[in-house]
Amino acid sequence: MDFDFLFRNFADLTITGLALGSVYALVALGYTMVYGVLQLINFAHSEVFMYGTMAAAFAVIALGGAATTSTGAAIGMLLVALVAAMLVSGGVALLVERFAYRPLLNRNAPKLVALISAIGMSFFLAEAMGLRDKITAWFGLDDNLEPYVGRARNVVPLPDVVDPVGVFDIGGYTVTSIDLLVIGGALVMMVGVDQFIRRSRLGRGIRSVAQDPESAALMGVNSTRVVQLTFLIGGLMAGAAAFLYILRIGATRYDVGFILGVKAFTAAVLGGIGNLRGALAGGLILGVAENWGSAVFGTQWKDVVAFVLLVLILMFRPTGLLGEALGKARA
């Protein structure tokens, strides 16, 4: 157990952990909101995230991004990539709601069955991305779409349009522009969503359905629309997370959703499922804990850290760190 290493590189590990955790936090938002409103674990949310990463990568490839792109053009491309990721993720989230959940919710099926349906859709979506070369070949489009389809199950790189620029130093670690972008961007998004839920009319609708669906319906809230909106917001946030993720890691795979989804879900539970600020806290804490754990125990134990943390919290504080549910948010 190498505590020395941890203390020597504390700033480095903590800040990069926060960056990783920001991605977890944004994805966790989707899980926590759907759970707050429907008491359902949205298993397909991991694929919503993955599609976002692909959209961001494809956008930059389509715009001809390369290491030689000028900074201004690069920033423009990245903005397009961000928007693309958010739109695609939002769209996929709506599809998930429409096809995996709504038919079952309308029939009052048990929650476990809805879970299975979401799992099926998750497999379907991931495989569809992994088989995109075969699917486009079927339509005869594979030549035109070659750069996006390639050998479909391979790693899809984000072209190196940005060079991370060191901005300032903390405790021996040079914080780069990408680190700032990821952490800052995530914070802005989270605050935005938090304010939206608390202040806006639509946000009140979401909270009311989370609190008591029947009374909300009596009060004239259209619960179908609310559910759709919940999924959409979760999807948009996942898309933002996808963009930040691919910026940091530099590449994506068709199966990247799964493990990240499980971790993000862990983060949501850690912070208190149904609680938005809990998702933020949980994500950041998880990201940092994983890095610290890797440092002390060895990188191969990274994932174990996440799950042990989860099990411990649930045993000693089952409602999570921040506890409150979506419905009980103070207005």
């Binding site: 290493f5 020597r8 590189n9 480095d12 590990l13 990069t16 952990g17 960056a19 990783l20 290491a67 050998r151 199950r153 391979n154 790693v155 790189p157 072209p159 190196d160 991370p164 060191g166 040079t174 780069t176 990408i178 940091r248 890691i249 530099g250 590449a251 994506t252 795979r253 199966d255 990247v256 493990i259 994983e290 890095n291 890797s294 440092a295 060895g298 990188t299 191969q300 990274k302 994932d303």
Partner: protein
């Protein structure tokens, strides 16, 4: 009222079943044509390749299967009326799928030999089945040394194993990379762990640190921190290209400037494509010969596949040719083929092909390569 009806129905079903089964006869004993045919090449035989044709490791699998396929095509051109069928079995190099794939090859009586399995992990799972069934195999890429120590009479390896590669990696680190502070990273595969372990032993006290990552991992930040903290000037990564390409990208993004050294598991065009600029200057060790320098082979390969030969292409080509030589001499059953392979002694494009009593290759060239301008360039033969 319903009981007699149900009874009658059950009885009827039973009667029909009895009728059908009574039509049973016995198949004539289907003996395969015994031993060798009259001096000419054996016809109707199949040669199989087993490895990852899809999935994350497919790059290496496709490079190898193409080499073997080229050999089969050339053979079939010469023997147009007595062709050999080439069976490509996709195991995704997954040890879980390997036994099932192996079994289906074993069950196909016409399959007389296997080029593969591609990776060491799947070999550990599938070779016991091949051994029990007496199916001769020549692997052109599985390099874990313990594979030849299990007592499998059907096992043959046409390239060097990691016990010989390990010390060569250490030499590359110290002599070519001129590293004073080498660091090693292994993945969790059978191949990566053994090779990195062998390298660590060869480096001895010079090694400044070691880390382990998991297959499928994408975020290597903690590892980057460790490398920077150890102030390593060279890093050896024992593993495969899906992880290697992301690792080097993140190392460079983290500001690390040292030399990256990788083994044959990373030597694939995907690595260069994904890692992009970060891949420049990477040193590679490989018990494989540079295919593009073997003129006849390289030209024929390019003519057929429209690209340069990949890693293990020449080795798979040689392996297939051993089997094809056996078929040409008239062998059409497995134990005779196994004897033929074990006793084979001839020239291949990658080396002089012969196997020792454990199935290991008698000649084991190891080469060093470098990534320059987005391509693998052969530096020198190390052994």
């Amino acid at each position: 009222m319903s009981r007699p009806n149900t009874f009658a129905r059950l009885g009827a079903v039973a009667a029909v079943a009895a009728l059908v089964l009574s039509a049973c006869g016995t198949t004539e004993d289907k003996t395969p044509s015994a031993g060798t045919s009259n001096g000419g090449p054996a016809c109707g035989e199949k040669l199989a390749f087993m490895g990852a044709l899809t999935g994350p490791a497919a790059g290496l699998g496709i490079a190898a299967v193409n080499g073997a396929e080229l050999a089969v095509d050339q053979y079939n051109e010469k023997h147009a009326d007595c062709k050999v069928e080439f069976v490509k079995s996709d195991s995704q190099s997954d040890p879980k799928q390997a036994p099932g794939v192996a079994k289906s090859l074993i069950d196909d009586d016409a399959v007389i030999g296997v080029v593969g399995p591609l990776f060491s992990g799947e070999s550990e799972a599938a070779d016991p089945l091949f051994n029990e069934a007496g199916m001769p195999l020549i692997t052109a890429s599985a390099t874990k040394p313990t594979l030849s120590e299990q007592g499998w009479t059907v096992f043959h390896r046409i390239l060097g194993n990691d016990e010989t590669q390990g010390p060569q990696v250490a030499k590359v680190l110290t002599d070519i990379a001129k590293a004073t502070k080498p660091y090693t990273i292994s993945d969790d595969s059978a191949y990566g762990q053994f090779l990195t372990g062998a390298t660590d032993s060869a480096l001895g006290d010079a090694l400044v640190g070691h880390d382990k990552i998991a297959t499928g991992q994408t975020d290597f930040q903690a590892t980057v921190t460790k490398v920077l903290d150890a102030d390593a000037d060279a890093v050896f990564f024992g593993g495969y290209y899906p992880e290697g390409e992301l690792l080097i990208k993140q190392l460079r993004a983290g500001g690390w400037k040292g030399t990256f050294v990788v083994p044959d598991g990373v030597k694939d065009n995907e690595y260069i494509k994904v890692a992009g600029a970060a891949a420049e200057g990477t040193l590679v060790t490989c018990p494989c010969v540079p295919g593009d320098t073997i003129a006849a082979f390289a030209d024929a390969y390019r003519a057929k596949f429209n690209e340069d030969p990949g890693t293990y292409g020449p080795e798979a080509y040689d392996a297939a040719n051993v089997f094809l030589a056996g078929i040409e001499s008239g062998i059409n059953e497995r134990s005779a083929m196994n004897d033929f392979v074990t006793n084979y002694d001839g020239e291949g494009v990658s080396k002089h092909v012969a196997f020792d009593e454990h199935g290991e290759s008698a000649e084991i060239p190891i080469w060093a390569y470098k990534v320059e301008d987005g391509k693998y360039v052969a530096l020198k033969q190390l052994a």
